[in-house]
């Protein structure tokens, strides 16, 4: 089946099997290898890309579903073509040591880009919950959270301090993920 997908601003097209996963379109058909696949169950988020601007897990989207749509991978961010991490998110990941082995990084970065675009007033708790769909096995998330706060224009030291203090005094009901109402 023929699909046309704009990837990082470039029009691409190919004849693909309907079952082809978008992650494999990006990696194998287009040949952009930054996007990784880390699981089979839509759990780890290593394959996260932007599809028409929204972070999605490209292992759980068919290429045919993305036909006539636009995909952005980490290779499409500012400075990537020149090998310079100049996008606010990649820049902050570099400065804050928000990556170690690098495998989760492309997906984590794209989730962070999407998170920041949806919320102009992030704090530590919101960043942690906003990254719930991306697993990292190396960093313990400490520096990833800092990097995302920096990219969102926040002072990570102040945010971490505020979160630590709010935890100590937490009075919200229960620990189940309750949503308060009425």
């Amino acid at each position: 089946m023929k699909v046309e997908i704009t990837v990082n601003g470039e029009r691409t097209s190919a004849d693909v099997e309907p079952r082809q996963l978008l992650a494999h379109y990006v990696r194998d058909t287009v040949g952009l290898k930054a996007t990784n696949i880390g699981c089979d169950t839509t759990s780890c988020g290593a394959c996260t890309v932007l599809l028409d601007g929204e972070a999605v897990k490209s292992c759980t989207v068919l290429s045919v579903q993305a036909d006539q749509q636009s995909v952005t991978t980490m290779e499409g961010l500012d400075g990537a073509g020149d090998g310079r991490p100049e996008h606010p998110v990649t820049k902050a990941f570099h400065a804050e040591h928000g990556l170690q082995c690098g495998f989760c990084t492309p997906g984590m970065v794209m989730s962070a880009v999407s998170l920041i675009s949806h919320d102009s007033d992030l704090d530590e708790r919101k960043v942690r919950e906003g990254l719930e769909g991306n697993l990292c096995r190396c960093t313990g998330y400490h520096n990833i959270v800092r990097a995302v706060l920096v990219a969102a224009g926040k002072d990570p030291d102040a945010e971490q301090k505020a979160e630590a203090e709010s935890d100590a005094l937490r009075t919200a009901p229960g620990f189940s993920r309750g949503e308060a109402g009425a």
Partner: protein, 752 residues
């Protein structure tokens, strides 16, 4: 100002954050063009005989080039750990019997990757089920044997040559004993296993995702019966290892064998579902601790009995109890220590190293024992620890575990952690919550730990070469998979040579470039490979001085390095100098050296964990973790803290979330990331790190290892905190992981 000890951001990152790292499955090496894709057919049963394999339907499937079974192979089953029972060998594809779910049974080679999974489903294997043994304690009874020809499930036994002394605890006022589970964990690096191989004549090249190219080469060569110099192993970027990528996997040798058989390159990249049964796992110890002492808090006797689950085929897991026994007494000065261990096979995935590899198990055991002892005599657990840790003046300290601790200030680490946590205030808050019967109880857990790094492999080579253009190449036998060696080793060379780190390239993980090397494991890199780079760089400056002496017509003794210009100058004579680059343009300027520390080092620390436990639901929330991790002087705090963060997260995960589980038939219950409990950012707090620096005399830089410390300290602190939160309800112990279900059940049990 020295670059050492400063926060230098990683030189690796610009590539990693733009086009991405290049992992094994990303390779575009033209010699892999036209590679066949390997898909493995894996056993769905934990223990069975294979009665027939019909490959005909698979052979007719689109794109299938070959289907290979064990009968086609001409490589002998291999003993994967030399010290294990010699009968416990693993075939590269199972022939007559399968011993765990996920064991490879047939190899399907297809033109396209998508075709492999379709064809693999069509390989028809008939099995005759055999009785399954999952529990290592049951396996030790030898009722169901995995290797009938071995006559036993015990692959190795340590300290079992004599019967335990029945009167060992005779003089103790207080004796407490407890069975513990140190559960099976999946290392779960985000990059699964991958390999690709091609042949050029009789010369084999294998790309693999691994922590040690040289070890991988030796194993592949040995299994395939090749000369080592006919095998080149290259490690591209590696997406995490955590111990599970030490040494080659049988699958890697199979990839190489298939490439030779087919006369075409072969690629293999496993799925996560395969990884969760096929990749080695860690921990998996059943322990019995017994601790004895006096009511004033003095611990005088400690005994540890270990049954190590090895999984189906003995691998590095066979070694883990040796580390566990060695580190059994932990930071404590205990007069009488006794330990023994037995390592047994079961119908499960093989056990090997996972971050800490034997030491977290030792620490969890002795820390739990200290808590039980403290509870029994009614003393604050921090105070019991303070009374029993090895005093600073006793170093070097010969332990009852049979090793010599190099340096340590254990009480100081403990006090620093307690002070940072506001321990007294936390205890007051805990008391208040108990008094008002709060649903959310506060728990405070304290751990004191010491571990061994660079254990067993003390030497490492390094090569440093200055090029005529002023750039530098460093070769190392250590092998990063996220740790940042390219930055750290460049810092060490830069410090000595006066050449900026952006001109220094660190190369590793290629056996043609670096024929000898121990890889990166056991937190060994800095104190071995790093010190070797430091030494090589110093030797290179000495060599440059000798060369410059002639050129500058000066005595070597009058020469010095001008670090601002990367030049050798005559002391006190401005302008009389020659740069290292100029020297290199005259004659190759290169040093190869070997550093051998001859001893391991013993980093240590203390962690305090604060949790809230919802006593109605059993849910635990980690509020805070304070970590004092002393690994000697810090080369790069950014990298060091990153190691601590990652270790702490994995340690908390063991305490609260992760466990590889099987049902009674040996079917995995945690075979995907949807089931296996790796924490996300939302389950963890930020971490509170406290600095402390006690150098080791073992190497000139004073460096110890930091890769595993966080894991070792945080697990017992977290487990202890949860139990502490519930101690007033009568809860004295909960096995890990402390899931809401387990916590709730413990509360129910205690209230009966």
């Amino acid at each position: 100002m020295s670059i050492l000890g400063t926060r230098v951001v990683r030189t690796e990152d610009p590539v990693f954050l733009t086009r991405g790292a290049t992992y094994t499955d990303d390779l575009t090496d033209e010699r892999l063009t036209g590679a066949l894709h390997l898909t493995l057919v894996r056993s769905p049963l934990a223990h069975a005989t294979i009665t027939s394999i019909d490959t005909s339907a698979a052979l007719d499937s689109p794109g299938v080039v070959a289907v290979v079974t064990g009968a086609d192979l001409d490589i002998a089953p291999a003993l994967l750990f030399p010290g294990a029972n010699k009968a416990m060998t693993r075939p590269f594809l199972a022939t007559d019997r399968v011993r765990f779910v996920g064991e490879p049974v047939a190899a399907v080679l297809t033109e396209e990757f998508y075709q492999g999974e379709d064809a693999a489903e069509l390989v028809d294997v008939e099995y005759e089920p055999l009785p399954v043994v999952i529990d290592p304690l049951a396996a030790a009874n030898d009722e169901t044997l995995l290797f009938p020809e071995a006559g036993t499930n015990t692959a190795a036994a340590y300290g079992h040559d004599s019967e335990p002394d029945a009167d060992f605890f005779a003089g103790c006022e207080v004796v407490v004993t407890r069975d513990l589970v140190n559960q099976r964990l999946a290392a779960a690096p985000l990059e699964t296993r991958a390999a690709s191989a091609f042949w050029e004549g009789d010369h084999l090249t294998v790309y693999m995702s691994n922590q040690n190219a040289q070890g991988g080469r030796d194993e592949v060569a040995g299994w395939l019966g090749l000369d080592k110099d006919k095998v080149r192993v290259i490690l591209p970027d590696v997406g995490g290892g955590f111990g599970a990528k030490i040494g080659s996997d049988p699958e890697f040798a199979l990839v190489a064998w298939l490439a030779r058989q087919q006369g075409r390159p072969v690629r293999w990249n496993e799925s996560r579902s395969e990884n969760m049964t096929g990749m080695v796992q860690g921990r998996a110890q059943r322990q019995t601790v017994t601790i004895g002492g006096s009511r004033d808090g003095r611990v005088t006797h400690y005994r540890l009995d270990v049954v190590q689950d090895l999984g189906a085929y003995p691998r590095l897991g066979t070694f883990l109890p040796m580390f566990t026994r060695m580190m059994a007494p932990g930071t404590y000065d205990i007069a009488n220590v006794d330990s023994r261990a037995r390592a047994v096979v079961t119908n499960t995935t093989s056990i090997a190293a996972y971050r800490g590899a034997g030491r977290p198990e030792a620490t969890a055991a002795v820390e739990r024992a200290m808590d039980l002892f403290a509870a029994e005599i009614g003393m604050d657990p921090a105070q019991v620890r303070r009374l029993n840790v090895v005093a600073p003046e006793k170093f070097p300290f010969q332990t009852k575990g049979g090793v010599e601790y190099d340096s340590g200030e254990y009480a100081k680490a403990l006090d620093l952690a307690l002070a940072e946590s506001g321990y007294e205030r936390l205890r007051a808050e805990q008391k208040a919550r108990r008094e008002r019967g709060d649903v959310r109880q506060l728990g405070i857990g304290v751990s004191s730990y010491v571990e061994i790094t660079g254990g067993g492999a003390y030497a490492e080579d390094a090569s440093v070469q200055v090029h005529p253009d002023g750039t530098v190449t460093v070769l190392t036998g250590t092998s990063p998979h996220g740790q940042g060696h390219a930055t750290a080793w460049a810092m060490l060379a830069s410090e000595q040579l006066g050449i900026a780190i952006d001109k220094i390239t660190v190369r590793h993980g290629d056996t043609d470039l670096v024929p000898r090397g121990g890889g990166t494991m056991g937190s060994r890199s800095l104190q071995t490979g790093g010190v070797a780079v430091h030494q090589a760089s110093g030797e290179l400056v000495d060599l440059a001085k000798q060369r410059a002496a002639e050129l500058l017509e000066a005595s070597v003794d009058d020469l010095e390095l001008d670090p601002a210009n990367a030049a050798i100058t005559v002391a006190g004579v401005p302008g009389k100098s020659v740069t290292l680059a100029e020297l290199a343009s005259r004659e190759e300027l290169k040093v190869d050296t070997t550093w051998d520390g001859q001893k391991p080092t013993f980093p240590f620390g203390a962690h305090v964990c604060v949790v809230e436990v919802d006593t109605e639901s059993g849910k635990v929330t980690v509020e805070r973790i304070v970590a004092v991790d002393d690994a000697g002087p810090i080369l790069n705090p950014l990298l060091c803290d990153g190691q601590r963060h990652g270790g702490i997260a994995q340690g908390i995960a063991q305490a609260l979330l992760e466990e590889v589980m099987y049902d009674e038939e040996g079917q995995p219950l945690t075979g995907t990331f949807a089931d296996y409990g790796i924490p996300s950012a939302a389950e963890l707090p930020s971490f509170d790190l406290v600095e402390m620096t006690t150098p080791t005399p073992v190497n000139p830089m004073g460096y110890k290892g930091i890769g595993e410390a966080g894991t070792i300290g945080s697990t017992p602190a977290t487990q202890s905190a949860v139990i502490d939160a519930l101690s007033h309800l009568g809860v004295t112990h909960i096995d890990m992981p402390l899931t809401p279900l387990r916590v709730w059940e413990a509360i129910q049990e205690a209230s009966k």
